[in-house]
C-alpha cells in the first residue's frame, strides 16, 4: 500500500494546568491516505482539537507534545521548531478553523488576509495575489468585489467561506477542517462541503475532518476514527464503521444522529453521563462507566486495539458478543439502564 500522506503514531500530548497534567491525547494513531479523507469523530472534550493542534503545532505555552510521531510525507513534524514548520503551514497543510467569528484579524481587510498566505509562500506580485483572491472568493461564493471589506462586515457563514478560501488558496496537500460548519445551517454546510470535494477532486488533496457530527463524516469521508477520552476506540473505512460498528460508544453515537441509517419514527437516544477526567484517567476501559455492556474486566483492564475485520480496528473486550450488543443498542432502555 502506498505511504499515507499523514501518519500519526502513538501521539501523547496535553496541557499543564494548575492541578496537574491533562493528557488530552493519550496514544492516538491514525492515517490520512493520499487523496483520501479521514473523519475524526468524538464529543466535545475528547481531545480531537488537541490532535489538530499537535499536527499544525500551533498551541499555547501550556500545551506539550510528550511523545509519538507525526509523519507527513515521511518527515516527522514533532521535533521541528517554529521556523521549520513554516515551510508546511498554509502551503502543504492548512487549517479551516473552528470559530468563524474570531479567526480573522478585525483590523485588516479580508482580501489582504487571504492574499497574505499567498504572498508568504509564493513569489508573486501583490496584484497577482489579489487576482487569485478574487478568483477564490468567487469560487467559494463570495462577491469578489468585497475583498476590500473588513471581517465585521460579514456574517458568520460568509466569514467561514473566507476561511475556506484562505485554507484552499495554495491548494495544500492536506486540509484539516476543525468543526468547519458547526455554527452554520445545513444548506450552507452542504455548499461548503461541495466546494471542498470539488477541490479535492481537482487537486488530489487529502482532508482530515474533525467533528462531532457523525453524519457529516458519513457523507464526506472515506475512513473514520472514533475518539473517546483521548483515545481512538474504533477505526475503519466509513462503510465499515457505520454498517458494522463494533464499539459500544460508536453504537451510542449512531443513535444520536438521525440522518444515519434510521427510521424516522424512533426517538433520539443519548448516552447518559459524561466522559472521565483526563487528569486522572481510569485504569480500565474509559468508556466503562457509561457502557451498558461493561463487566468487571472492563473496569479493571484497559482493552487493546483488535483488528476485527480487514482494516477495521476496535478497542473493546467484548467484540465477540457484538451481535447481541448491536441489537440491544437500538433500544432506548439499554441506555437508560446506565443512568
Amino acid at each position: 500500500m502506498a505511504t499515507p500522506l499523514l501518519q500519526v503514531i502513538d501521539l501523547r500530548a496535553g496541557y499543564r494546568s494548575d492541578i496537574g497534567f491533562v493528557r488530552a491525547v493519550d496514544g492516538v494513531s491514525l492515517e490520512v491516505p493520499e487523496g483520501g479523507s479521514l473523519g475524526l469523530v468524538g464529543e466535545s472534550g475528547c481531545g480531537k482539537s488537541s490532535v489538530v493542534k499537535s499536527i499544525i503545532k500551533v498551541f499555547p505555552k501550556s500545551f506539550r507534545i510528550e511523545s509519538g510521531q507525526i509523519e507527513f510525507r515521511g518527515t516527522d513534524l514533532v521535533p521541528l521548531d517554529y521556523e521549520q514548520m513554516r515551510h508546511w503551514r498554509g502551503k502543504e497543510i492548512s487549517l479551516i478553523p473552528q470559530s468563524a467569528m474570531n479567526a480573522l484579524n478585525p483590523v485588516y481587510t479580508v482580501g489582504y488576509q487571504v492574499a497574505e498566505v499567498i504572498l508568504e509562500h509564493e513569489r508573486v506580485s501583490r496584484g497577482q495575489a489579489m487576482n487569485r483572491v478574487r478568483q477564490l472568493f468567487e469560487w467559494v461564493g463570495i462577491d469578489p468585489d468585497r475583498t476590500g471589506q473588513y471581517p465585521h462586515q460579514f456574517s458568520g457563514g460568509m466569514r467561514q467561506r473566507v476561511n475556506i478560501a484562505l485554507a484552499l488558496a495554495l491548494e495544500p496537500a492536506l486540509v484539516i477542517a476543525d468543526e468547519p460548519t458547526t455554527a452554520l445551517d445545513v444548506v450552507v454546510q452542504d455548499q461548503i462541503f461541495g466546494k471542498m470535494r470539488e477541490m479535492q477532486d481537482r487537486t488530489g488533496a487529502s482532508m482530515l475532518l474533525v467533528t462531532h457530527d457523525i453524519s457529516l463524516v458519513s457523507e464526506n469521508c472515506d475512513t473514520m476514527a472514533v475518539m473517546y477520552a483521548g483515545q481512538i476506540v474504533e477505526y475503519s473505512d466509513v462503510r465499515g464503521v457505520l454498517a458494522r460498528p463494533f464499539h459500544p460508544y460508536t453504537l451510542g453515537l449512531k443513535n444520536a444522529f438521525p440522518s444515519v441509517d434510521r427510521s424516522r419514527n424512533e426517538a433520539l437516544i443519548s448516552i447518559p453521563k459524561a466522559p472521565p477526567s483526563l487528569l486522572h484517567p481510569p485504569e480500565g476501559c474509559r468508556f466503562a462507566p457509561r457502557c451498558p455492556f461493561a463487566t468487571d474486566r472492563c473496569v479493571q483492564e484497559a482493552p487493546v486495539s483488535i483488528e476485527v475485520e480487514r482494516g477495521h480496528f476496535v478497542s473493546c473486550h467484548h467484540v465477540g458478543d457484538i451481535d447481541r450488543m448491536r441489537e440491544a443498542a437500538e433500544k432506548a432502555e439499554t441506555w437508560a439502564a446506565r443512568e
Binding site: 487549517l95 484579524n105 483590523v107 509562500h121
Partner: protein, 323 residues
C-alpha cells in the same frame, strides 16, 4: 465619521469657552481692586487709560464679561505687567519652545512604549519581561520633576554629558528658525529633557500595550495567522500589535493631559523657556494677563490634543469607520 468630528469640535469649543469663563470668575475673586487683573502701576499712564477703555473696566460686570470673552477669543489678553508688551507676544514666543520640547518627547514616548511593550508581551514569562514591567511601574511612580532632577544629577552633574538647563547656552544668539531649532547647541540642550520625558511618559503606553498584546495574543486569529505559515515576527508585529493599538489610541488623550502638567514641571527643572514655566513665573509675579493667557493656551493645547486623539481612534478602528 463626519458627525463624530463635528460633535467633538463642538464640545472642544464649549470647553474653551468654559475655561475662559472660569478664569474670568476666578480673577474677579481676588481680594482688592478687580481692575488689578488688567492694570498695574508698572504700566505707563496712557497704556493704563487705553486698557481701561478697551476692557470696559468702569462698566457693569456683564459688559466686562462680554468684552473679555470677545478679546480672549481674538487672542488679546491685555498687556503684560512684567514685559510691558502685549501678553500675546510674550506667550506666542514661548509656545514654540514648549512645542519643540513636547512634540518630539511624546512621539518618542509612544514609539518606545509601543515597541517595547509589544516586545515584552511577546517575551512573557522571561526575566526580561518581569524586570521591564516592574521597572516601568516603579519609574513612572516617582514624580516627574524628581525623576528629571535625577536625570540632571546623573547625566549633567556627576557625568557631565549634557548641559543642565535652559534651551541654549547663554550668549548664543540665534538667527531665524533654522538656527534656533536645528542647531547643535539646541539639540544638546534638548536631549536631556526630551529623553527624560520620553522614557517617563513612555511607561504608560508600554504597560497598556503589554496588557493589550497579552490579550490579543490569546485570540483565535493569532493562531490562524501562525497556521498560515507567517514568521513569528510578522505574527507579533503585524497582526498582534496592530490589533492591540486601540487601547493605546484611547490613552493618548489621557497622556496628553498628564504630559502637559509634566511639561510644566520639566520646564521648571530644566529652566526651559516654555509656556509652562512662563505661566508659573507669571503667577508668582502676579502678572495676570500673561498668567491668564498662558493658562488658556495650555488648555487649548490639551483640548486640541484630545481632538487629535479622537481622530486617531477613529482612524485606527475600522469598526468606527465603516458602520
Amino acid at each position: 465619521m463626519r458627525r463624530y468630528l463635528v460633535n467633538r469640535l463642538g464640545l472642544a469649543a464649549l470647553t474653551v469657552l468654559f475655561l475662559a469663563s472660569v478664569m474670568f470668575i476666578l480673577f474677579r475673586m481676588l481680594p482688592g481692586d478687580p481692575t488689578m487683573t488688567v492694570l498695574s502701576p508698572a504700566l505707563d499712564r496712557e497704556v493704563q487709560e487705553e486698557l481701561r477703555r478697551k476692557f470696559g473696566l468702569d462698566r457693569p460686570l456683564i459688559e466686562q464679561y462680554v468684552i473679555y470673552m470677545k478679546s480672549t477669543l481674538l487672542g488679546d489678553f491685555g498687556v503684560s505687567f512684567q514685559h510691558r508688551v502685549s501678553a500675546v507676544t510674550v506667550i506666542a514666543e514661548r509656545l514654540w519652545n514648549t512645542l519643540a520640547l513636547m512634540v518630539p518627547s511624546l512621539v518618542l514616548a509612544y514609539l518606545i512604549g509601543v515597541l517595547v511593550g509589544a516586545y515584552i508581551a511577546w517575551k512573557r514569562g522571561t526575566k526580561l519581561e518581569e524586570v521591564v514591567t516592574v521597572g516601568a511601574m516603579a519609574f513612572r511612580s516617582g514624580p516627574i520633576f524628581w525623576v528629571a532632577m535625577l536625570f540632571v544629577f546623573a547625566f549633567s552633574v556627576k557625568v557631565p554629558l549634557f548641559p543642565s538647563g535652559h534651551m541654549r547656552t547663554p550668549g548664543y544668539v540665534a538667527e531665524g528658525i533654522l538656527a534656533t531649532f536645528f542647531s547643535l547647541d539646541f539639540l544638546l540642550h534638548l536631549t536631556l529633557p526630551m529623553t527624560c520625558m520620553a522614557i517617563y511618559y513612555g511607561c504608560y503606553p508600554l504597560l497598556i500595550m503589554r496588557t493589550s498584546m497579552l490579550e490579543v495574543l490569546g485570540e483565535d486569529f493569532i493562531d490562524l495567522a501562525k497556521a498560515k505559515g507567517l514568521s513569528e515576527l510578522k505574527v507579533v508585529f503585524k497582526h498582534a500589535m496592530r490589533a492591540s493599538l486601540l487601547p493605546i489610541a484611547t490613552s493618548v488623550s489621557l497622556l496628553g493631559a498628564y504630559s502637559v502638567a509634566g511639561s510644566v514641571l520639566v520646564e521648571m527643572v530644566f529652566s526651559w523657556p516654555g509656556l509652562g514655566r512662563l505661566m508659573v513665573t507669571a503667577v508668582l509675579d502676579s502678572d495676570y494677563p500673561v498668567a491668564q493667557g498662558a493658562f488658556l493656551l495650555i488648555g487649548v493645547l490639551v483640548i486640541l490634543g484630545n481632538l487629535l486623539a479622537d481622530l486617531l481612534y477613529g482612524a485606527l478602528d475600522p469598526r468606527v469607520r465603516y458602520r
